[in-house]
Symmetry: C2
Subunit: 150 residues, 2 copies
């Protein structure tokens, strides 16, 4: 089997983030893949669109993937370093790999995940950094709400 194409996988998460942006939402997207590249689920932050504080990109993608018997050989691909909520999801369900577009705008729980055996890849993607960075600068209040900062 050829190695997973992280950039191609990230493109799906970025597409979700762009959809969110077009809807007026926080531009963070994610997708859950099997190791062979099969897309299992894709999702995006929908706090603003659906008034749903539980819909982070990663949890939305996880939800859309439905019930899976094992997550060991799955990859959670996300435009941003996963927050504690999403990092907890990865750890609890034993998702094997996290691929993140960036960790410059927000440093979540990915060090903790790495310390607990999860493979973590940071692509340092310039488009992800710019898209969310611009959004945060324009909407600091909603951003702080989304990461639970009073």
């Amino acid at each position: 089997m050829s190695p997973p194409d992280y950039r191609a996988m990230l493109a799906v998460a970025v597409e979700e983030a762009r959809l969110g942006l077009a809807e007026g939402g926080i531009p963070i997207g994610a997708a859950l893949f099997a190791r062979d590249g099969t897309l299992l689920g894709r999702g995006r932050n929908r706090r603003v669109q659906e008034n749903d504080p539980s819909a982070h990109g990663e949890t939305d993608a996880f939800r859309k993937a439905g019930r899976q018997r094992s997550y060991r050989d799955t990859l959670m691909v996300t435009t941003l370093s996963p927050c504690w909520y999403c990092s907890g999801l990865v750890r609890q369900f034993g998702i094997g790999t996290v691929v993140m577009g960036e960790s410059a705008n927000f440093h979540g729980g990915h060090d903790w995940l790495r310390a607990h055996g999860v493979e973590v890849v940071d692509l340092g993607d310039a488009e992800c950094i710019a898209m969310l960075g611009d959004w945060i600068a324009a909407h600091p209040q909603v951003w702080h709400e989304d990461i639970g900062q009073d």
Copy 2:
């Protein structure tokens, strides 16, 4: 202000767990309260009922509570020690207190939460222990799926 009545709050979470049991689901319930006792949201595990692996009791109650500006003065009341996914939720959003019915059937992330400044109360409730314990004994496979054990 009188101190929160943890037992009365737990009764709401237990009611949710019983509803889940009646629906054929995993009997775990939760509710998010303001410190003055106002109920903000209540929910239950709905993995089986809705094929939704993201609907744990705590995340469901959090979702039902809608967008809140701050969680510092809220209490997450749950029939069971919160798993890593739900513990991550508590930490990220700064929920001040976790009240759990029991931690005998499952020991989640509550020590970690305590170490990070969350007030954690374990009521050691016999009904919670029996309800989930009986269910796990009868449905070990779905239980292992719910906590991400292959």
